[in-house]
């Protein structure tokens, strides 16, 4: 039952620590629905700092390269439609692009056996953020299937965002988070990671990570040094 599978995928998603493993799991998951490939792409205009356009993908490499080289994100009719609506879009052989370039993209996609697909826009408060786009040769999704893929896509992208944030080492000199400061205060009063984990009721490994992050941010090599720097920069009180 695909609904059960979907809820299982959602329940398990927080267990993933490695983005590659999560992407593989999502690929396996969408295959159950008859979808062949997916891509999470960032369709926003390239203003400001350059950013990765593709968050994750199992698209055929050649199609991905062509899409990027020819800047198809600008004329792709699916992307264009999703800029105007905050709801998933089903596209297929009967989709009309309304212009030559758009039609060409749809035709070229079918060269890679992507004749139809389901695209989920993820909107943040600033507008369209990414599109989770799934393609297939034969579209077999019913309404419930579409709902399942929509929900799973939301959870997938949120999880990838969190993993990306967690796996990015904090830049030196950046602020301590409330939890990092809290742990450092306990370190300052001589508590071990295990003792802190008991006090705060969180895992010992988590305490260790908070303290390590604090050391990196404070540019300290030892815990004692970290405490001293944090006190002198008024991030914790003496």
């Amino acid at each position: 039952m695909l609904t059960a599978s979907t809820f299982e995928f959602i329940e398990e998603i927080d267990r993933f620590r490695d983005p590659a493993a999560l992407i593989e799991a999502f690929q396996k998951f969408i295959r159950k629905f008859g979808m062949a490939y997916f891509m999470i792409g960032d369709p926003r205009p390239p203003i400001g700092l350059p950013r990765e356009r593709v968050w994750a993908t199992t698209w055929p490499e050649e199609w991905l390269l062509r899409f990027g080289d020819r800047n198809y994100v600008v004329v792709d009719p699916v992307v264009r439609q999703l800029r105007t609506q905050n709801r998933p879009l089903r596209w297929g052989p009967t989709a009309r692009a309304g212009d030559e370039e758009g039609t060409r993209i749809l035709t070229e996609a079918s060269e890679f056996r992507m004749n139809a697909g389901y695209a989920v826009p993820i909107y943040s408060r600033e507008g369209l953020s990414v599109i989770v786009s799934m393609g297939t040769e034969h579209y077999e999704l019913g309404k419930t299937d579409e709902i399942c893929l929509h929900m799973a896509s939301i959870y997938l992208h949120a999880a990838l965002e969190r993993l990306r944030a967690q796996n990015t080492p904090p830049p030196r000199g950046s602020r301590l988070t409330p939890r990092e400061r809290e742990c450092l205060v306990w370190v300052a009063s001589g508590k071990t990671d295990w003792e802190i984990s008991q006090i705060l009721k969180i895992a010992e490994q988590t305490v260790h990570e908070y303290v390590q992050n604090a050391l990196i941010k404070l540019n300290a090599t030892t815990r004692a040094q970290a405490v001293a720097i944090a006190i002198s920069t008024r991030q914790i009180s003496a």
Partner: protein, 226 residues
């Protein structure tokens, strides 16, 4: 500030509660066009506005109600259980002494500008989280837009769906259960930049079953020194 109103201190809040029902009428009937909720006296209330309901009222200094939320114990009658259980048909209706149901959460869109609406919404959200932690609850259930679901997930808040999405209010909504602990409250405050305690519960007689623990608020992050 957010004032907590229960059956035990409601006498102090007669006017405020009437303003709350008026706000609900304006937002649900006038703004959203839910005519089946229309009442002649322009005060929206329903069978879940009982003595068991806990109201959170976002008020200005002069007592004007700018936002509201209703929390119902899931051990008794509540909306998911009695009106729309089909929304929870995958995981089932969630009941427990530490689970509240959040409904009728809204802010005064007639009298607040865009920034005011956003601030008010953020305050109500933080207020819900702060209340749940301080009152010793653990989770709340609600019908949430998929956009809101995504925002919470990115903040690292534990939100799980209870059923499939449905079409509501021009978009997609889903019944969810949200786990709220101190970490989740901290994450929400950090994300929404709300660092003061909001919740006040006053006027209840001694021995009131609702006892709020003191607020634990993370300090606003300081800028790192050069």
């Amino acid at each position: 500030m957010i004032e907590v109103v229960t059956a035990r201190n409601a006498l102090l809040y007669e006017d405020a509660l009437r303003d709350m029902h008026s706000l609900r009428h304006r937002m649900l009937v006038e703004r959203r066009g839910l005519n089946r909720l229309r009442k002649r006296d322009n005060l929206q209330s329903d069978r879940f506005d009982t003595a068991d309901a806990i109201y959170l009222l976002l008020t200005e200094d002069d007592g004007t109600v700018r936002g509201t939320a209703r929390l119902l114990p899931t051990t008794g009658p509540h909306v998911f259980a009695d009106v729309s259980p089909e929304l929870c048909d995958v995981k089932g209706v969630q009941r427990g002494s530490r689970i509240l149901e959040l409904t009728r959460a809204m802010v005064d869109e007639d009298n607040l500008d865009r920034a005011g609406v956003e601030n008010a919404r953020n305050s109500v959200m933080v207020g819900v989280f702060e209340f749940i932690v301080r009152a010793g609850y653990e989770k709340f259930t609600a019908l949430m837009t998929t956009d809101m679901l995504y925002r919470y997930l990115v903040m690292g808040i534990d939100v799980k769906p209870l059923g499939l999405t449905v079409e509501r209010g021009g978009g997609k909504q889903v019944a969810v259960i949200v786990s709220v602990d101190q970490n989740a409250q901290d994450a929400l405050r950090l994300a929404l930049d709300v660092f003061e305690p909001l919740i006040h519960y006053v006027g209840a007689p001694a021995g009131d079953p609702l006892a709020l623990a003191p607020p634990r608020i993370p300090a606003r992050p300081l800028e790192a020194a050069e």
